[in-house]
Symmetry: C3
Subunit: 471 residues, 3 copies
């Protein structure tokens, strides 16, 4: 069966809405892509080598795909993912078989955003005109592999074809940013910038903390013997990232707790951490304090502060022990913002020099906490629907539950948040369609008029991301 | 005024959606009914006697109906429901007057699923062509009562007319299953199977626990002097239920807490329980441990494990004391799954031999916790929208909030969950219409195509329930 | 550009829905306005003096407007709002400039209910035919200011033009109700009634409590030396308010906790409060007990009891210290009703003499807790969507999540809840349109028929508010 991407896909079937949605989407579809938050490996663009083959490009690095296949009983080994300890069932080494297995289960993605992105990616990025199915899998595999060898499918060529104006990666605090440096020095004009993510050195109760701290000390060039030195190292890294093009930091927390600790308590905590003598409760307080410090430093250096709250990482411990992180075992928890962010917002939220972008996986907080907070504090913006909610229905719920209280002008535009480079245009396209459709619904109900909607569509597709992230 | 069941009822009015919804519903409307979870009294089908009269059949056993009438100020006594102590206002003994009172308040059910089911039941099951109203009540009463005397309105005849392929009841752990035995021995070929619900023997802090334990010991044929014997008795009952046709167990918990307790702690708890010396906190831990045991036993005997979490039973204590349980006083509470189910899912959730079906009354957990968990752990499935959410809007919310993360193939099909035997076809019909309409919306927005939708409609109406519950 | 209020605004664009929505709205649009809960200053109607000028009438008293402007970086001083301490940046004293600043940022309100209300108010109340924009601001300012001088724009004339049948204000427990008295004695027949709000004397841990208690004692005419006397004073004030026309009390609580305290504990708490020796935990218990007392007194005097739960007041402490309360810094928190209201509902919820109207800012409780509670307890009703949720989408969510479980007849009709007198008709109009549209959706899907819908529309627009609040 032939693959089709309907030009009206994702629009409301009502003719009055659809007509306006089409018109609004026509205003935004060709705007450049601004990608202020994501996880593309900068090495790809530094080296600009051809991508390997379809399974390694599309299936194996995408935890959205692995997750649903695993949930349906497909062992990770059968998808070519090895155990860390080398144990378990034999690992599939033939990428064609991995691709076939993926295609055999492609029906699982019906009605999911992953399915929508993949359809777009296959059709539009790789020009595949058959629908992926168990029967068509081998042919499509060959077709894509062949294309990947051509110059126009190299990473930088795709970057340009995708119309990316700027792409931010996410980088550990101690990263040397060598790939970013290589890109800048290569003479290529594509704008790829880092984003500072210092989580690893904030998690003082984690077994990985000593190594993370040591790495930071190494980059800093001095041992981090006390809290003041530790904080200085963080400040220096902020400066370094900023010089390398960064405009933002990012902080992943289970709970968005913020608090000022008295200086002596911070020092005691820090020293106890260095001796490996801290509890999760200590870590919570320490991180709550560090978020305050980060906001304070943002006033000075102007880096936008992002908080991604509410993912319980590596929920599936046996799987984590076998395969490591990012294998689909991160599960959201109920999240509280009103009380948790109060210290930070009271201290810095009235200061227009701060931009704080907040993300949640708990949709019940959209209308209850986040929109009221962003609709009041000048410094706060709402990040776009994140992760599981980066989807048609998720975007609809986000707009319906935040717009009436915070308006669209306190939201931060779209983030693709992806490590799957070739899915970037698919994700932005879906978001632009979803926003066009949302606005068209308002026009059709005479809540806003078409000229307003046109301006709002541009803001959502392009301007708000640039403005929020100072790009 | 004439009663009408519009052939397009519950479908979106948009012509593009409605056309597809109709087409999909036509694929599923005549499929057999698979009812893997419900509360029909098996005695009805064992005896196969004519139903009494309309009030006793339709009004008095349906706590959905009693609830709203009571909420509007109609005393339960006026509906023929006596107090346990015989006190209170005089009990209405004339079923015609009960029926009339119900009809007088029928307007309360406008826009509720109970109203939709009743309309269907009256029109389609009993062939009533007048709308129920204060004026038509007596005539409709007589019409139904007369029909109930006819052979084609006997329970087994209705079972066959309804097209029920299999009907599961819900039975206490110590039940002798005599009615199930009688059905099997009667030569009638209707498939009616039990489902094991051991809650009563799990609730060690309840005043009813000693009696429940004694009953279990009696069936077991030996005193349950220690935890090992208690567990053996549970295992034996599982075996007995399975031999009687059961494919599942069911567990109602306030909180879906799971944990392994050390063996000595379990034994101490069990002995303290036998001495009546336990607190609700003890019960919570004991139940958390027993859920682990149940999952473990499921790996061995293959019984599907259901968890219904989050109903605070008998919230209205005065009413409970006067009238007993199931009088409408069960109220949901916020429920946490991510942390509570972690122990169980870490221990058994990666094992495809387990099927765990989870139900919630807290819709905020659909997209936040349940879909991410089911979209990751191979053993977990999402139960259909339960109780208050078994409704048009409830089903829409369920699909909209779970499909994008977990797909439809990690959901468990439909449960009617009813004790109102004659409402079974109404409930399945409404679910099939709701699912057809949901899928039609995806087709109209080009998220899926019609051939996908057709397969998905069959899965939702029939196949997923059969497969999930191993029927 | 000309301002337009489309006659079909806020209706679904689907022709089948829109046709019915129009028809239902035509039934309700001209019904009198019943406003049982709001914050209009009774002085306005007692004095009946002309309103000052547009900025003071429309911008400065409306914290919905100030909130979004402030959130976008406009200092409150620039809107003419002075600091309490006289500090900060210079306060704008020219109302024309305040109006201009408001108009410059009018785009922020696109898609918000405030925008919808303002459009209606300008067009329909003040007859302005230009759209408000930076360019048209001065002309519109002059146009409104001129009109405000005319007799038909005096408060009482507007009250009559708006078709207000009854308007309830909200008044502190120690208020002398002098303005209400003045209205009654003026010979004007407009019905303006007070509503008793005793929160200030319930908050024993607040620094304002001693003054509030003293004021109560003054009105009571005797020192409130013990709890019995305090309670007697409350009871007397209830009687006084009732004689002045009140039919309801109102209670704002962070958490809707209810409990009976033993008499000696209450007395000890009360005495400790008088000595300034109480904690927030004490206050919580004291308020939980007082809510029980209020419900008990309602059985006797028949005053309807309202609970508004879940707003954390003055979240932004620096702003509160500078500008005082009601500057936009009230933020919702997650709220629990099932367990918190249990004591009160067990004690009084089965008694039809009590009417308890419950409001929430936590929409996750609509389907989980509030609709099940109101769908069971005869005394309980659901207040309309409150504050941030008093909006098109908010109303839709409320109806979709409560109707199936509680029906519409356990809801309390509409509250405008506003201090912006001239926005009253806009708010009722939007609510009537939203309800007409909701019902039209049910008709178009054949859930209810048109004759049912017509009766339900009248109930939602007019009858339920009158009946619930005994007006």
């Amino acid at each position: 069966m032939a693959a089709v991407l309907d030009p009206d896909r994702y629009f409301d079937p009502d003719p009055a809405v659809r007509r306006v949605a089409r018109e609004l989407y026509d205003e935004t579809r060709r705007l450049p892509i601004v990608s202020p938050h994501g996880h593309v490996d900068p090495r790809i663009l530094a080296r600009d080598e051809p991508f390997a083959e379809p399974a390694a490009l599309i299936v194996q690095p995408d935890h959205y795909i692995l997750r649903l296949l695993y949930a349906q009983g497909v062992p990770l080994e059968a998808l070519g993912v090895p155990r860390r300890d080398g144990g378990g069932t034999p690992v599939e080494t033939d990428p064609c078989k991995v691709w076939q297995r993926f295609a055999d289960h492609y029906y699982l993605f019906r009605g999911t955003p992953t399915g929508a992105w993949l359809d777009y990616e296959l059709y539009d990025v790789f020009g595949v005109r058959d629908r992926l199915s168990p029967e068509t899998a081998p042919g499509i595999y060959d077709e894509i592999r062949e294309k990947l060898g051509a110059p126009e499918f190299r990473p930088r060529a795709l970057f340009e074809r995708f119309g990316i104006e700027v792409l931010a990666t996410t980088d550990p605090v101690s990263d040397s940013l060598e790939h970013h440096r290589a890109i800048r020095e290569s003479g290529w004009t594509g704008r790829v910038i880092p984003c500072l993510r210092p989580d690893a050195v904030f998690r003082i109760a984690s077994p990985e903390w000593p190594a993370a701290l040591e790495a930071l000390g190494r980059e800093h060039g001095a041992p981090l013997i006390d809290y003041a030195e530790f904080l200085q190292a963080l400040q220096d890294r902020r400066g370094f990232f900023k010089r390398m093009g960064a405009t933002a930091t990012d902080h992943a927390v289970l709970e968005p707790y913020t608090t000022w600790l008295p200086p002596n308590e911070v020092e005691v905590l820090y020293q106890r951490a260095r001796q490996g003598d801290v509890t999760p409760a200590d870590e919570r307080r320490f991180m709550g304090h560090l978020l305050m410090e980060m906001a304070r430093l943002s006033l000075e250096d102007g880096l936008v502060m992002q908080i991604h709250a509410g993912a319980l990482r590596d929920h599936n411990r046996p799987l984590f022990q076998q395969f490591g992180p990012d294998r689909g075992g991160d599960i959201p928890v109920a999240t509280e913002f009103t009380r948790n962010l109060r210290a930070l917002l009271n201290a810095f939220g009235n200061d227009p020099r701060l931009t704080l972008v907040v993300f949640t996986l708990d949709e019940s907080t959209y209308s209850r906490e986040l929109a009221p907070l962003a609709g009041h504090y000048p410094a706060m913006r709402l990040g776009p629907p994140w992760w599981f909610h980066d989807s048609l229905e998720g975007m609809r719920r986000f707009r319906e539950r935040t717009t009436e209280t915070a308006g669209i002008y306190k939201t931060a535009g779209f983030n693709d948040d992806t490590r799957a480079f070739c899915s970037i245009p698919a994700r932005h396209d879906l978001a632009r369609r979803a926003d066009a459709n949302f606005l068209a619904g308002l026009v059709a109900r005479h809540v806003i008029d078409t000229s307003d909607a046109r301006r709002m569509a541009r803001a959502l597709a392009y301007e708000l991301a640039k403005e929020t992230y100072k790009l």
